[in-house]
Amino acid sequence: MADPKRDGIGGPDVLRRAGDASVLILTSLADGSKHGYALIQDIKGFAGLQLGPGTLYGALDRLERMGLIEALPAEDRRQPYRITAAGAVALRAHLDSIERVTSVGRLRLGLGEI
C-alpha cells in the first residue's frame, strides 16, 4: 500500500535510500548520455563535489540493476550511460520529495518560500 509520507506525490521515491551518488548521477544524465569521467566532471561542476571513481561505479551498477539507467554501446574504452524513462520518473519523484522538505525547512527557519 502506498504511503503518502514516504512516497512522493508523483510516485514512490525509489531513490530515497539509493544514496546521494545515485541522485547526482541521474541528475547529470538528465540532459544527455555521459561516460564515467564526463559524469565525474559534470557533477563536480554543478554540485561542487568530486565523486570517487569507486563510488561512481558502485552507483552506476546499482542504478543499472534498478533499471533507472542503461548502458549504451561502448565508444573506444568508454562506456556511456543514459537515463531510462523509469529513471526520469524516479528522479522527478525524488526531487519533488526534496523540494517539499526544502520548503518546510526554509519556512521553519523563517526564510520563506523560494
Partner: protein
C-alpha cells in the same frame, strides 16, 4: 601519463574487483584513474576509492553473495564468541571467579553465559565452582 608507481597502486586496487567487473569496466576505470591523477587527484585517494568500491561490489552483487556474506559474518561472530567463552571458562582462577559472579543484581546477558552443568548461573547453581574446590 601519471607515474608508474601511482598507476601500480590503482591497478592493485582494480585487481580486487571480481573478474567479470574488470572485464566490463577495467579499461575505462584505469583510464578514469589516469585522468583524475593527471588532474591533481592524489593516486592514493583514487586507489582507496576503487578498493572500497571493490569491497562493496564483492559484498553486494546478488542475493546469493549477500547470503554467503551474512553466513560468513555469523560464523565469524560465532567463532569469536566461542573463543571468548573458552577464555571465560578456562581453568584460570581469575576467570573462574569472574564466571561465578552469578547472583549479582545485574546478571550477564544469557548469550554470554557459559553453557553446561558446571556453571548453571542463577538457576539454583552452587555458589562455588564445582571444578575448583578452592574457588
Amino acid at each position: 601519463m601519471p607515474g608508474s608507481r601511482s598507476m601500480r597502486q590503482v591497478e592493485s586496487a582494480l585487481r580486487c574487483y571480481p573478474r567479470r567487473w574488470r572485464g566490463r569496466h577495467g579499461d575505462e576505470a584505469a583510464e578514469i584513474a589516469s585522468l583524475l591523477i593527471r588532474g591533481g587527484t592524489p593516486a592514493r585517494s583514487v586507489a582507496w576509492s576503487y578498493l572500497m568500491g571493490a569491497a562493496r561490489t564483492r559484498l553486494v552483487t546478488g542475493p546469493r553473495r549477500r547470503l554467503g556474506a551474512a553466513v560468513g559474518a555469523l560464523l565469524l561472530a560465532a567463532g569469536s564468541l566461542g573463543v571468548s567463552l573458552a577464555l571465560l571458562s578456562s581453568p584460570a582462577p581469575a576467570n573462574a571467579a569472574n564466571v561465578t559472579h552469578s547472583r549479582t543484581a545485574h546478571p550477564r546477558p544469557a548469550d554470554l553465559r557459559p553453557a553446561g552443568p558446571r556453571h548453571e548461573i542463577g538457576r539454583g547453581a552452587p555458589d562455588r565452582c564445582v571444578r575448583h574446590d578452592d574457588c
